[in-house]
Assembly symmetry: C2
Homo-oligomer: 253 residues x 2
DNA sequence: CCAATAGTGTCTTTCAGACAATATCCT
DNA sequence: AGGATATTGTCTGAAAGACACTATTGG
């Protein structure tokens, strides 16, 4: 059986074999190879209500004076997550509840010399307190308002993509639990989801769905102090599971 | 209302503010910054039946003589996809039906000097013919058999992750259509899915589900020649939609 | 007619979501 | 008691999957 096919979504080029890409010697490679930069989109849940992102004001060219993602250059002795943690600490003083690589950006046509490849990470901070005034040259912005700003480099795109990934991921991974403390109420978890997704969720349905997860363990404690029926506290017992990042779970780069 | 929380999944460090990561001067950066390598996991559908991946035999240290993903160094004048396309051409002579970035790998502890960051891409080839003997030092392996090999670098991990992404993505993106020609039968599309997912799919249910997609247009042509009722040919009219890569669709890096 | 695949019908189960009803605390 | 949120109950509709059945060709 033979089915003829025609056009393709990408042009098919018939050409003679090209030999395997040759390697340059070390000094030539140093001249040719772009620099590597690590940037991090940091999501903070302020009062469990809204999503905020800290940006840093550029203090040198290019894009001097514009807002940019925190980050720094990758040196030979560090992993990329080392650099990501370092810029997290420099801008927020907090350790993230979750950190993962987003994408490697490295188009040409940037206003930069030497040419730079930027590895973007995204992180989410624990949900209690975030000090919005800790550091100079750092300002927190609501995630939804950033689209209106004109950021340095292609950082508008990076943030838009990070937000998309976060909102997708909260639905099927454990980051909702990572953001909370050891014990939490279903309503607190729901607030995290609502803040990330930016929309209200039916409390009854949410409670049922979430409690169907065998990794969620009911404690015998209840949270008192509200002027209503006290909600039960739960604990998340799920292992670092494959769903978060597939075969890359726990892979520290 | 105040909910006390305790432990976290990652340790919280209270520490004094760290100043923003300083930039080194250009010559120092060249010394410190790792080299950038682009590698590509190429998926080929041989006879629409199985998934195959081409590997290249290393002809220099490190890992001399072991199988590795095709790739090459990133130079200042190229985009990363340029390099990916180039290694595609060098190993298969075919243009891919789909190409996307996978992950940036750059852990320490590699047997390499200078330290290297490797940007991995994955690609899938159109589904008709694949010449398995075109190039020297290139050999095609069944995707499922590669786990038993001992590849160079961390390429076993890279391939495992690429396979995971491909299998996830075929369910909700348009790559199934991208692999086929302009007109195709539902059975051909099903074979692509079966090859990628590695399991049989019920023909009746698959047909219904796929035809529920408004981007699939029935033509008035039928494919004759089989010794059975001739199947109708279909055409995919979907635009490059956001579902493939979220806000990054069409972003060429 | 028979073999083989295309395509349809039907039934079951699962799950998300809307929304009403009940439970239990605080003041 | 009344306010407020927690938690449960019930219903509906969408969608996936199992599987039987009909349709249409070539031989």
């Amino acid at each position: 059986m033979s089915f003829e096919t025609q056009a393709r979504s990408l042009p098919r080029q018939a050409s003679r074999p090209v030999s395997y890409v040759p390697a340059a010697n070390v000094s030539e490679r140093a001249r040719l190879s772009p620099q590597i930069q690590v940037s991090t989109v940091i999501f903070g849940l302020y009062n469990n209500k809204d999503l905020w992102i800290p940006l840093v004001k550029r203090i040198r060219a290019p894009y001097l004076g514009q807002w940019a993602l925190p980050g720094g250059p990758l040196t030979a002795a560090e992993t990329m997550t080392d650099v990501a943690y370092r810029s997290l600490k420099a801008t927020t003083d907090l350790a993230p509840a979750y950190l993962e690589q987003l994408y490697a950006f490295g188009g040409l046509g940037q206003q930069q010399a030497p040419r730079t490849v930027s590895i973007a990470y995204w992180a989410i901070l624990p949900a209690d307190e975030i000090n919005q005034d800790a550091h100079e040259n750092v300002r927190w912005f609501r995630a939804d308002e950033i689209a209106e700003l004109d950021l340095a480099f292609d950082h508008n795109t990076v943030i838009e993509y990070a937000l998309w990934r976060l909102r997708n991921k909260v639905e099927y991974s454990s980051i909702g639990y990572d953001v909370l403390g050891e014990k939490f109420t279903i309503a607190q978890l729901r607030e995290v989801y609502e803040a990330i997704l930016g929309k209200p969720i039916d409390p009854g349905n949410f409670s049922r769905q979430v409690r169907a997860n065998p990794d969620l363990e009911a404690t015998e404690e209840f949270l008192t102090g509200g002027k209503h029926r006290p909600p039960r506290l739960y604990r998340y017992t799920g292992a670092a599971d494959r769903r978060n990042n597939g075969p890359l779970s726990g892979f520290d780069q």
